[in-house]
Each structure stands twice: as structure tokens, then as C-alpha cells.
């Protein structure tokens, strides 16, 4: 039989012989330092765990870039085909609301970054929660403004579909523009809602004194997500709101 092969061909790894297979599932404390309570069993140490988590979030953000990328590509192509129609349609978006929301999101990114920093320097839970709460408040403000805008579009028959009504010269490209507008801002808004959900959990954890200089990965990773959603808006704002700036009827 073949059972003896491993004796004939010494393996490339060094591994102490298994006393019994039971050993394999026993916790093994072969390091002098006590483990951090937040260290998951399958990581060797906290550094590995931190690196894995941040890399994981970055990789996820890359998929998010591609996810929004499909919509941006559609925008690019149709705007290339209908520059006039898109400018005309964009003219009917409210630049003021868009600009206000841009500022709101940028401030929320600042508070988010400061929330991460407060965890990094082991600030008291109250400070951490305050920054996180401020971020959430700004996020909710953004969604509120968005809701006003959506309602406005709804009352002006600018929602694509059978009720879409356009007085201008380019009804078809305008409906295309508003299809893209709702898809892009809608997807972004969904990301904001998810972000608020994440921040709720993070805020709760901060309240429970989870984070300090030794362990703040969840805040940091949630922050990466929040900043990403901000970046998407940084592009959406000019591409959707500002291309009709000097449009003449």
C-alpha cells in the first residue's frame, strides 16, 4: 500500500509530530504574551488581524469602485452621445441642494476621520461616540436633503417612466439622464443608509469601551467605507449637477 510514502520522501515542512489528533483542536498558547481579547483564533497575532481587516476593506472598496463603475460608464457613453440633452436635463437639478450636500458629506468625512483618530489615541468613549454621532447626524442630513430633492423631482414629473414629462428640446436624452440620475444617486443613497447602519453598530461598540489605541480596527474600517461613499459623491456632484451650468435655453 501507499501509506509509507511520507517516510520515503521527507516533506518540505518542519512540523512537530502530532502526539494525537486531539491536540489539533486544543487552543495553543505558545507565545509568552497574553492574547489580546479581540484576537480571533485563526490569526497568529493582532498585527496580522489588523492587516487582514484593512486589506479586506480595501479589496471590497475596489469591488465598489467597479460596481459604481458600471453606472459611470453608462453615464459617460450616453453623455458622449447626447451632450446637449444632458446639459439641458442637468439644468433642472438644484445646484444649491447639491452643493449643500457636498459640503455636508465633506464635513462628515472630517468627523469620521476624527472619530478614528479619537479611537487611535484612546480618547474617552464619550468623545468617540460624539464624533461618530456627528458623522451619523451629517449622514442623515444628507439623506434628508436627498429626500427633498427626490420629492421635488417627483412633483415635477421628472421620474422616468410613463409619467415622465419634459418641456425642453431633448425629451429622450433627458429621460435617459434622469434614469441615470436616479440610479446613481439612489445607489449612493443606499450606500449611505448602509453606512448609517454600520455607524450605529460602531457607535454602540464605542459606547461599550471597545476601542482604544490597541484595538480600533472596526472604526478604521468603517471609516474607509464612509470616505469611499463621500468620494463617490465628490464625482457625482459635478457630473450630475454642474454640467448644465452655462446651458442656455
Amino acid at each position: 500500500m501507499r501509506d509509507a510514502h511520507s517516510e520515503h520522501f521527507p516533506g518540505p515542512i518542519h512540523q512537530p509530530p502530532l502526539a494525537s489528533n486531539v491536540d489539533a483542536i486544543q487552543p495553543h498558547d505558545h507565545e509568552e504574551l497574553p492574547h489580546h481579547p479581540k484576537l480571533q483564533h485563526h490569526f497568529d497575532d493582532m498585527a496580522q488581524q489588523v492587516e487582514a481587516s484593512t486589506l479586506g476593506m480595501w479589496v471590497f472598496l475596489v469591488t465598489e469602485i467597479m460596481f459604481f463603475g458600471g453606472l459611470f460608464t453608462a453615464y459617460l457613453v450616453y453623455r458622449y452621445i447626447n451632450p446637449e440633452g444632458f446639459a439641458e436635463a442637468s439644468h433642472h437639478l438644484n445646484v444649491t441642494w447639491g452643493a449643500v450636500n457636498t459640503i455636508v458629506l465633506i464635513v462628515s468625512s472630517l468627523t469620521m476621520a476624527l472619530a478614528v483618530r479619537s479611537a487611535q489615541i484612546s480618547a474617552p468613549p464619550k468623545t468617540q461616540v460624539a464624533w461618530i454621532g456627528a458623522t451619523m447626524l451629517l449622514g442623515a442630513t444628507f439623506l434628508g436633503v436627498k429626500a427633498i430633492e427626490y420629492y421635488d423631482k417627483f412633483t415635477h414629473h421628472l421620474v422616468p417612466g410613463p409619467n415622465f414629462h419634459w418641456e425642453g428640446k431633448h425629451p429622450a436624452p433627458a429621460e435617459m439622464f434622469y434614469s441615470l440620475y436616479f440610479c446613481m444617486t439612489g445607489l449612493h443613497a443606499i450606500h449611505m443608509v448602509i453606512g448609517l447602519g454600520i455607524m450605529t453598530v460602531i457607535g454602540f461598540m464605542a459606547w461599550r469601551r471597545t476601542f482604544d489605541a490597541d484595538y480600533y480596527t472596526p472604526v478604521e474600517v468603517a471609516g474607509l467605507y464612509w470616505h469611499f461613499v463621500d468620494i463617490v459623491w465628490i464625482f457625482l456632484f459635478p457630473l450630475l449637477y454642474l454640467i448644465g451650468g452655462h446651458f442656455t435655453e
Binding site: G11, I13, H14, Y78
Partner: protein, 534 residues
Amino acid sequence: METLNYLNNGHGLKSWLLTKDHKRIALLYLVSITVFFVIGGFFAMLVRLELLTPAGDLLTSETYNKMFTMHGVVMVFFFLIPSIPAVLGNFLIPIMVGAKDLAFPRINLLSWYIYVLGGVFTLVAALGGGVDTGWTFYTPYSTAAANGHVITAALGVFITGFSSILTGLNFIVTIHRMRAPGLTWFRLPLFVWSHYATSLIMILGTPVIAITVLLVAAERGLHLGIFDPALGGDPILFQHLFWFYSHPAVYIMILPAMGVVSEIVQAFTRKNIFGYSFVAFSSLAIAIIGFLVWGHHLFVSGQSVYSGMIFSFLSFCVAIPSAIKVFNWTATIFKGSVCLDSPMLYAFGFIGLFTIGGLTGLFLAAMGLDIHVHDTYFVVAHFHYIMVGGAIMGYLGGLHYWWPKISGRRYSEPWAKFSALLVFTGFNLTFFPQFIAGYLGMPRRYHAYPPEFQVLNVASTLGASILTVGYVIPLIYFAYSLFAGEKSVNDPWGARGLEWEIPSPPPTENFTVSPVVTEGTHQYVHPNQEVGLA
């Protein structure tokens, strides 16, 4: 005495459904993709039975269209894409990199639940009356004209996409951050390299199809008009976005199979791979160049000629790394110690069929020739040579190779050899005639066809019956081996690699102590080799 391993460490449904052990999750995937394989196979059999006669007499046209649509959707999204990565990759990658688990065990479990949820959506669509868009969901048919539950099916694909993304994410982080000390990139098994390349496609491509099918669902359900020609929408834009993922998706299916074959060829020649770095980098090259060739699906769609030329050129380029792999496998066998056990038979089958499948792909990359064969049975034959002759052969080969590790049991080798032979014969009889039918001009997705194509179609259906038998037999002997199979030792094949150094089946945390690696994991010959130092 029963030693404790991942299988008997915890009993009951809950210990499986809430497990975070990558090996148990791999088995959850194994069971679920097998279910979908059977469903997809059932649809395929109905398609083949209908095509026995030129007239559309067994099913109505609408039913036939739903059958090939559901066959495609189920096989592509619910069997082929998760097959090797989610089952074998999930089971083996942590072990091969010397880790206790994947980087994110909970996300791994989540990805299985997402997969199941997507599957439920698809099954609801199938049972609730089906969908007849074709697996490609081309607009404006899918948005404006199709019958059945397009939105439900599209959401099924959308949801299951995230399962694929999370699996890829987990693999990438694991391979980057969880490797055992000393296990450098160029000591990694080629299986890991090919899964790394696969994961890149999963995370970079899948989101694009996710948003694309979501837009189709939104256009059908909410009347948003992203692809609507009446609003100036371009159906070709849909095709661009669809194939931006769906062409690389073919490499999601074939790259892991290439990794499996690289492992099997080394194990059954007891020889390290010929040209390790070429084989490793060709995986990355396929993944990256594979992202640049999607436009060869659009040669007759009205795409710009210049785009077509560039895509044609790049499509030929992606053939080169594939050729490198085939030549290197062949060279590995040279002066090996060749043993033709069932995994090796599947690997041989893979190399031969993939060669034909790859070369016939060149026919489709040549623009002038593609005009004729595009959307005919030639294409159907070509991609089945890659997906069935390639990916499924690789999957079955890998399953046979690692079955003793996964289950701790040996299966019946004579039966395995017999079924490998059946699969090979049945496969060729099914799909080779389709090349001829395709060049004759038989279009794909035809419910009824002119009578002069009948001989070829009868041969094809006959082959499909043999193929079915070839697929059912392993199901039986694998199941039988679980209860009555001979117990396997750690390393039943005399193979190299970390997975063969630990017990069969492995303990829950794989390694008692994190292994320390001092050289490539697949070295068979060490004249005066010092055993590594920790």
C-alpha cells in the same frame, strides 16, 4: 478509536449551518452546487431530447426557450463559477498556505448563505414559470419583451454575485496575509496561484455584472431607461457591460481547473512542475489579459471596427499563456513516474479537451471567421469544450484527487476509471458534432431546425445520455465511500503539499502548530535535503 477531526467535531444540523470552519463550508457548497448541477443537467437533458427531431414536438417553443435559459443560468452562475473555488478552493487554500482558516470565516459562511439566497430566487423564477431571456439577458428583449420572471432571475444572479465577490475577497486576503512563515509567493502551490488570479476576476468583474443585471431589473420593473432604444439607449452598451464580466467569468471557471490539473499532474508523475514561474505567471496573465477581450463577443453586433480589431488582437494574445500551460503540463509528464489513477485520467482529459476548446476559441477571435460562426452551434461546442471538457473535468479530477483528504475515505478506483472513460467518450460524442453543425450554419437557441442537421443532433443527444451516466456513477461511489470506503492515510497518493502532511480528514484547525516552510511545497527529489528548520 475515532480521532477528532473537522467532520466529527460537532454534530447536528446547527453545527453545520452555523459553522465557521472553511472545510465544513466547503462541504455545504459541495452539496448545494451538486443540487444545482442536477437541476441544470435536467434542463440540459430536456433540451437535448427536444433536439432529437428537427420539428419542435416535445416542448412548446416558449418552454424550450425557458429550458435553455435556465440551463445556462443555473450552470454558469450556480455551478461552474462556484464549483472549484467554493468547494476545493475553500477547503484547500487555508491548508495550502498553512493557515487555520480563511481570513474572514464569518464572511465565508455569509457568502454561502448569499449563494443559497440567490439560488432560491432563481429556483422561484424557475418553478414560478421560468424565464426565457437566455442566460445573457440581452436587452431590449429582456427588458421589453421577455416572458416569465425576468426580475426574479436577474435578482438571483445579482445576489449570488456577492457570494462570488466575498469568496474572492477572502482568498485574496488569505493568500496575502495568512501564509505560513517561510511560504513565499514562489513556494506556493500552483493551485493557490490560479485561485489568486481567479479571485482578482471575481472582485473586479463581478460587481460590473451585478450592476448590469440590476439595471435590467430596474428597467423592467421601474421603467428606468438605461438601455431603452426609444430613449437613445444602446443595446450594445448592455453587451459591453455584460461581457466585461462574463468573458472573464470563463476564466473564473477555467483557471481553478488549471490549478487542479497542475497539482494532479505533479502528484501523478511525482515530479515538480516544468517551468513553475511560467505556469504561475500565466495564470495572472490570463486573468489580466482576459479582462481586455470582451469585445470579441460583439464582432457582428455593430461595434466599431477599430474596437473589434483591438479586441481580436488581444483575444489572440490571451491564447499564449494558455498554450504555455498546456506545453508545461506535457513537459512535466516527460520523465515522470506516471500513474494513471482516476484523477490523472481526468487531468489528461482536461489537457486534451482544453487544447481543442482553446484552439477553437481562436476561430471565434478571428474576425472574418467569427462572422460566420458567431451565435451558431460552433460557439456552443467551443464553450462546452472549455466549460464541460475543461472546468468540469478539472473539478471532477480535483474531487477525486482530494476526496480521501476531504472524506478520509477511498472510493472505488475501478469504477472511477470507468466513469472517467464514460465522461470523456460521452462528452466528445455530445459536443464534437456541434462543431460541424455550427459550421454548417445551425444557429444556437433553435427550438426547431432544418432536417439536414438531424444526424449530428442525434449523435449529440446520444453522447449526452452517456455523459449523464458518467456523471451519475461518481455520485454513487462517492456516497458509498462515505459509509463503506477504506480509510485513507494522510497521503494516499504519495504526493507533496501541506494538505498531505496533515491527517485525513484534517482536524478542525488544520495544523497543531503553524507550519514553517523552507522550500517549495512540491519538491519530490531532494538528494541531500536538510529538513527545514523552524
